[in-house]
Subunit: 214 residues, 2 copies
DNA sequence: TACTCACCGTGAATTATATCACAAGGATCC
DNA sequence: GGATCCTTGTGATATAATTCACGGTGAGTA
């Protein structure tokens, strides 16, 4: 593996490649070309090869890639071979939905706990977990060695939530609250902003509408 | 407004600026500098000014921007002044959670209907809407002039869902299914991939872990 | 073994995006 | 009304990401 800096866009694509290779594997496809991966993921074959080149050589010239082999490598690169423990904080509808989302489990993420400040929610069963009170979060992260946190609390409570998480040792946070959060340099933060996504779509719709007026 | 192509990253940031201006407005702040906007959104002041420059001049040299005025313009640019009608297809937990998510409503998006293939869900009440059967989707989009669709069905059903939507006239789609979808050129598609987000975090955690081994 | 084919891997060229740095210009003060 | 201050708006510069294009190489064939 080269020591150069890898674009985040590349990492996102690797994850998408891996998901598609997974599908191919399940369909019994054993070999695939960069062009075929590109077709399945709306990219270019050169892009696929460049992305992979950051991490080594996985293909055979003249032939292509062995699906299983490549997928195994991608999962390794993405850190999906070791189980990743996750807590969800905020047991609103979104938190519960994520808790029960299959997409996490079958990619190696284990949701170990779900927490909420609201004592009236505490004790409620969600799937095979029980909603725990916030004051237990710190201890839970430490004893279960939780690495990742998902934040689905309201914007106003988001910063204090990530503060608790990071002080307890969480190293990566996926934030759904519409708030710009501050974390230490060694903590990786990603924001999923649902309204922003709709607004970007709205912007492009506006462009089309203006086109139509000509 | 200049006719040049605007980076999508700029649009995303404009949406974030607008959200923060909204907060400022609610807090009674009346003027703001590009530096202050940058601080609130983890960016640089030059970036803020460049982003705004694509659309015109909104500030006063030596002073800064008038919060209300700038936010009004940003909302206009993002197409949030005219109400945007949305349908959600897939009344699973995620679909219901999004249906009830306040973040959409207070940014001008109106969720007008929620649909599901599963007849056992049809008739169920979600907030102030009732889950409708899929076969009514096409007609609903046409009669209510729906512009945007949110897809929260399983991956296997996602393509047929967007086909129905786009044939009925939907012009923008927010897709949560982990599937690469194909749409006509005049339809704008955005994917929100929950597992991909966790996998990107997992990748960066892996990097840190490897650092630690040295 | 020599020949051909197919497709990968990658340096070079291009395009896109972000940062820098400063001139321009409105507000304020004397 | 002129001088000073401050922050915008923007051309020039630097950085980053993507695409191009082709050389290199293993596999298959006869």
């Amino acid at each position: 593996m080269k020591a150069e800096k890898i674009p985040e866009a590349t990492i996102i694509r690797l994850s998408v490649y891996s998901r598609n290779l997974q599908y191919m594997e399940e369909m019994g496809i054993t070999k695939v070309s960069s062009q075929e991966i590109a077709d399945a993921t709306d990219g270019s074959s050169a892009q696929v090869r460049k992305d992979l080149a950051y991490f080594g050589e996985f293909g055979t010239r003249g032939v292509g890639y062995e699906v299983k082999h490549l997928n195994r490598h991608l999962k390794k690169i993405l850190g999906l071979t070791k189980p990743r423990s996750v807590v969800i904080v905020g047991a609103g509808r979104l938190g519960k939905a994520l808790m029960l989302y299959n997409g996490f489990g079958n990619r190696g993420f284990r949701v170990m706990g779900i927490f909420d400040k609201d004592m009236s929610k505490v004790g409620e069963q969600v799937g095979d977990l029980t909603i725990s009170p916030m004051y237990k979060l710190d201890q839970f992260i430490k004893t279960h060695n939780i690495q990742m946190g998902v934040v689905t609390v309201p914007a106003a409570a988001a910063q204090e939530t990530v503060d608790i998480m990071t002080r307890a040792g969480v190293k990566a946070i996926l934030n759904f609250a519409p708030k710009n959060l501050i974390v230490a340099d060694d903590v990786k933060l990603r924001n999923v902003d649902l309204a922003v996504n709709l607004e970007v779509l709205s912007f492009y719709m506006g462009l089309e509408e203006r086109e139509g007026e000509k």
